[in-house]
């Protein structure tokens, strides 16, 4: 089920919420069970075939985590943890990377191993990471929660199940145990409605508009000229931000309706002034996971500068691989790894850069890197980049000279003026506007704000005919 769908907004959400609150008054475990069943239904709605996998993953991890948390059989604890991590990595590896691995083996040694064309189970990247963190913390004796209902909710809670935020058990387990969670809380409802409305609008009105132009361009990379390529790539840069942050806003808002506070996942990333700053603002929960469970265990910055740089590079490589099984993602991860190393070296060396220049440089780097993230093949990415540097011709729309005749090399579904204005507005919002979380916490909730939220919801709901999935469902 998709947040921006009729079934979700008008049926699933109200039914689940009303019963949750009613059952919470009667007997809290009933409410938890109901929420768990509803979340599994939400997940299975796409394809019931995914359900056994998530249930097996949950049960295995819960059992291992419980064993580790009880601190028994000390001789075997590390081995059990290792088995648990390998189980998760193999699960993710098989479903996400098998074909990529086999393709490359075939290419390298000329073998003819058969591809399985495995359909990636939804959310597997997210729930696998969450559970690895749980296992590690159980081994460290940092988990005290043995209630399967709470654990099940931590893994499957529908607002964050499909595309994050990647929730740490420490952030939500205690909330699921709290009696207050099962009582109506108007502060949470008002905040939740506001940020959900903003997120829904971001997705339906903004991201999907840019998606049309980004998809048009990336489907015709060979004919892109200088201007076309910039329209295409800027459209994607904005689509990705509004799509993913829109999803995160909706997740935060929906969770608040159920009195659960999810962690912040975006904090105006395109305002970043260096690449480290960017990663403190973009997909924050992924950065947190990679730092806590990979970077620090590898030694972090405690083993000298060289090892620090290697560790930084490793986490960005993992980030690239996590996003997708393909060389384009590996290159994207590598680019960010190298940029982060340069950034760290630059700062330690005491170099300074004018803040505007720093911001422009950071944004442009991120923007160019997204080309690899979006392009279907390495060749496509290079073709687009060449076009962006004017190596595939510089062509101006003839409408600039003759008012009526739009003459891009291939037609976008809007005039040059519309494209330009929309992209500029999108950029302005991402650069200068308060972000949704700031609006939620800092803005007074008064009549104009209520009207604003209601209008966003109303407009978005009127566009539900064109339901589109979120980009991060693919990762």
């Amino acid at each position: 089920m998709i947040f921006n769908s009729f079934e979700f907004i008008f049926l699933f959400l109200p039914i689940v919420w009303i019963l949750y609150m009613l059952l919470g008054r009667i007997h809290i475990p009933f409410a938890k069970t109901w929420l768990l069943v509803a979340s599994l239904f939400f997940y299975g709605y796409w394809n019931p075939a995914y359900l056994p996998l998530i249930l097996i993953s949950m049960l295995v991890n819960y059992a291992i985590g419980m064993f580790l948390g009880r601190n028994k059989a000390k001789t075997y604890r590390k081995a059990i943890l290792t088995i648990g991590i390998i189980f998760n990595v193999l699960l993710l590896g098989y479903f996400k990377y098998y074909d990529f691995f086999v393709e490359n083996i075939n290419f390298l040694i000329g073998s003819e191993l058969v591809l399985k064309n495995i359909l990636l189970p939804l959310a597997i990247s997210f729930y696998t990471f969450q559970q690895i963190a749980y296992l590690v913390d159980s081994y460290r004796l940092e988990t005290k929660e043995y209630n399967f209902l709470n654990y099940g909710l931590f893994v499957t809670f529908f607002p964050q199940l499909i595309a994050g935020p990647i929730v740490h058990h420490g952030q939500v387990m205690s909330q699921f145990s709290d009696k207050k969670t099962y009582r109506i809380n108007y502060e949470h409802i008002s905040q939740g409605l506001l940020i959900f409305a903003i997120g829904l609008f971001k997705k339906v009105a903004i991201a999907d508009t840019f998606a049309e132009w980004a998809n048009a361009g990336y489907s015709n990379v060979n004919v892109l000229t200088f201007l076309d390529s910039w329209v295409t790539t800027l459209s994607y840069t904005l689509q990705l931000y509004f799509d993913f942050s829109g999803y995160s806003d909706m997740a935060i808002g929906l969770a608040l309706l159920f009195n659960i506070r999810l962690p912040l996942n975006f904090n105006s990333p395109y305002k970043a002034r260096d690449i480290q700053d960017f990663w403190r603002r973009w997909h924050i929960t992924l950065s947190h996971f990679l730092t806590t469970y990979i970077y620090i265990p590898l030694g972090g910055n405690r083993k000298g500068p060289k090892r620090t740089y290697v560790n930084i590079f490793i986490i960005f490589l993992v980030s690239g691989i996590w996003h997708g099984a393909g060389w384009t993602f590996l290159i994207w991860g590598t680019m960010h790894g190298l940029a982060s190393i340069i950034c760290r070296y630059w700062k330690l060396a005491g170099f300074k850069m004018n803040s505007v220049l720093a911001w422009v440089t950071t944004f442009l780097f991120v923007h160019f890197a997204w080309v690899f993230f979006r392009a279907l093949t390495l060749q496509d990415a290079l073709t687009v980049l060449k076009a962006m540097f004017g190596m595939n011709g510089l062509r101006l729309p003839t409408e600039w000279f003759h008012e009526t005749n739009l003459d891009w090399l291939f037609p976008f579904s809007a005039t040059t003026l519309e494209l330009s204005i929309t992209i500029l507005i999108g950029l302005a919002i991402s650069w200068y506007a308060k972000n949704s979380v700031e609006i939620m916490y800092e803005t007074k909730r008064n009549v104009p704000m209520a009207v604003f939220a209601a209008l966003l919801l109303f407009y978005s709901v009127m566009q539900l005919q064109q339901v589109s999935e979120f980009l991060y469902f693919n990762f």
Binding site: E187, S190, R445, A454, L455, M462, Q465
Partner: protein
């Protein structure tokens, strides 16, 4: 403003606005998902005839005894042109001959009581180019049978715009487009001046010559075989075929691009499969008058009334005497001789 008030205000404004759009879209019903009719929704735009008519059969059950299938030309045949038969017109724009089968099958699923099926056939749709690709109504059926299809439709700005246009046209009671419907499924066309008609016809003839006739046309080898399958489907119902009358101007163009022989083959095949065909497609007093058409091949509803009357009443029809001939295997040769003579007279 406290949080409780804020939440309730948001929900109230949202609910009021949403309900307003839903109510308006429901009241206007531009997708024909409901049955209510009133003076402000009696002129309706076409959004997608396949979807509209397919949904209409599911959600507004049909009890007619006659099913009419054809292309946009046949949409202008009104149900009240038939005195004794109750006709449901399931004709849609740009119908491929490959669609008769699934559309008929679907219509019978919705109403198994049809006693007869009338097929409107177009000559230009008998070419390989037009008939080769398999076509089916199934995708539309799938779409209109999705859960909450009708409810989802009501929540739409795009549909609201269509509703508003329908309201305006219904209030004005004017036919301002080439095809607008009333609530009974009858199509109407804007009446053009003679000048506009001549210009549109000229354009259409050019299009037919460059797109459908001449070198673009080769008679589809499987035409007869597929029409036989259509004939054999639901054998409990009588099948009638009629040829859609094009203007003599367009007929001349067909002949001049060397397709007269194919026209004869097409007609013979249809007669052989169906045992008889109502032929309206030849030079006669109706087709010779260009003002009976708005573009040389779409006739006005007045002509539709003649066709309906001729098929139902035969010799007693309220139609020009020379308009419409029932051709059988016994009369096909003499009929084609007569048509050839009329064609020669045209030139």
């Amino acid at each position: 403003m406290n949080d409780r008030k804020f939440s309730l205000t948001v929900m109230a404004i949202f609910a009021i606005l949403t309900l307003a759009v839903v109510t308006f879209n429901y009241w206007m019903d531009p997708l024909w998902n409901f049955s209510h009719a009133h003076e402000y929704n009696d002129v309706q735009l076409v959004t997608d005839e396949r979807e509209q008519k397919t949904a209409n059969q599911i959600y507004v059950p049909k009890t007619e005894d006659t099913l009419l299938l054809g292309s946009s030309r046949s949409t202008y045949i009104h149900h009240d042109g038939f005195k004794d038969w109750k006709v449901y017109n399931y004709s849609v724009a740009n119908l491929s001959m490959r669609e008769y089968y699934t559309m008929m099958d679907f219509a019978f699923e919705q109403n198994p009581d049809y006693e007869r099926v009338i097929l409107g056939v177009d000559f230009f749709k008998s070419s390989t180019q037009e008939a080769e690709a398999p076509r089916s109504i199934q995708n539309h059926v799938k779409r209109v049978t999705q859960p909450f299809y009708r409810a989802k439709n009501l929540l739409s700005f795009d549909l609201m715009k269509t509703s508003a246009q329908n309201l305006q046209m219904s209030a004005d009671d004017e036919i301002t487009e080439d095809r607008l419907y009333n609530r009974e499924g009858d199509a109407f066309a804007r009446k053009l001046s003679e000048e506009e008609t001549l210009s549109d016809t000229e354009d259409k003839i050019k299009k037919f010559e460059s797109t459908f006739y001449g070198k673009s046309y080769t008679y589809y080898p499987r035409y007869k075989e597929i029409m036989k399958k259509v004939h054999d489907l639901h054998p409990e119902a009588e099948k009638m075929v009629y040829t859609t009358p094009i203007s003599s101007e367009l007929f001349k163009s067909l002949v001049s691009t060397g397709l007269y022989e194919e026209y004869e083959i097409w007609l013979r095949d249809l007669v052989e499969v169906y045992g008889g065909v109502w032929n309206f497609m030849y030079p006669n007093s109706v087709t010779n008058d260009i003002t009976n058409y708005y573009d040389g091949h779409h006739f006005y509803p007045e002509v539709g009334y003649y066709i309906a009357s001729r098929m139902e009443q035969g010799d007693n029809a309220e139609a020009p005497e020379d308009f419409g001939v029932y051709v059988t295997p016994d009369t096909i040769d003499s009929h084609l001789k007569q048509v050839k003579k009329l064609v020669d007279e045209l030139n």
